[in-house]
Each structure stands twice: as C-alpha cells, then as structure tokens.
C-alpha cells in the first residue's frame, strides 16, 4: 500500500465515517452538514485513490462529484427549509 492509498484509507475511516454519523442524525438541516462534509472528503478520497493506483483517467469521477455536489446542495437548501 503506497502513501496515496494510505491517505485515502485515512480519509475514508476518519473522514467519511464521522460525516455519515452527522448525516444520519438530527433534523434535515443538521444532516445536510454531514452531507456537506461527506462530499468534499469523498472528492479527496477519489483523487487520492486515483493517484494511488496511478490512473489519471479516473479523475473524471471526482470532478463530476465536485460539480454535481453543488447541484445537490442547492436542491436541499432550496427545498429543505419551511415553505414561504
């Protein structure tokens, strides 16, 4: 296991684990915090993993995640709150 993979393992356990816990408790807005934590960590994980297995073509996945996460977030911020 090289350094990149080790880093991705750390991100997975120490990053996504807690993010999931936050994302599974409380009301919608506090869960959204967990999601907002999970997505960037996942982006970093995907990049580190792609570097670890030395596959630059995989990098399209973190790129798309980064872009679509914005869409997803906007959906929730728009619809999660109380209706006007």
């Amino acid at each position: 296991m090289n350094a990149w993979l080790a880093a991705s393992a750390v991100l997975l356990v120490l990053g996504l684990g807690p993010a999931l816990i936050i994302g599974a408790r409380g009301d919608g807005v506090s869960r959204l915090v967990g999601l907002e934590l999970a997505s960037p960590i996942a982006v970093f994980f995907l990049m580190a993993f792609a570097a670890g297995v030395d596959q630059p073509s995989y990098l399209i996945v973190p790129l798309v995640l980064a872009v679509l996460n914005v869409v997803g977030t906007l959906v929730f911020t728009r619809l999660l709150g109380p209706r006007p």
């Binding site: 999931l20 599974a24 959204l32 967990g34 996945v61 997803g72």
Partner: protein, 78 residues
C-alpha cells in the same frame, strides 16, 4: 486495498441502515444522498469508475431532487 474495500463496504451498510431507519422522508432524503456518496466511493474502490459515475449522477442530484419535490408537493397540502 483490501482494507479500503472493507471499510467502504462497512460504510455503505451503515448508511443503508441509517436511510431505512430515518422515518421522516425529508431527513431521509439527505441521508440517501450520503448513501449515494458512500456507494460512489465503494464502486470506485472496486475499480468500477463507470458505475461510480452513474451512481453519482443518479444519487446526488436527480433522485434527491425528485424525492424533495414530491415531499414539498405533499407537504403543501398540510
């Protein structure tokens, strides 16, 4: 590598249980998004970038949007 796959599998299982355990649908939708991210991570770790990309496209934007729109329509009646 094996450790990463194992950890990702555990994460997905935990997220799935969390989604099912959430009774309120709008909270559940957020957790469903987290499950989508976890599945993306797992598929990537299983060397399936194509599938990861699909799950990403479906799981982070389209399905949560449909669920949230359905809920907001239903809520409107209350």
């Amino acid at each position: 590598m094996t450790f990463i796959v194992g950890a990702a599998l555990t994460l997905v299982l935990a997220a799935a249980i969390a989604v099912v355990a959430s009774q309120d649908p709008s909270r559940q939708a957020v957790t469903l998004s987290v499950l989508g991210v976890s599945l993306t991570v797992l598929f990537f770790a299983l060397q399936a970038p194509d599938v990861a990309l699909s799950q990403l496209a479906v799981g982070t934007a389209i399905v949560p949007l449909m669920v949230m729109l359905t809920i907001s329509k239903i809520r409107g009646g209350r």
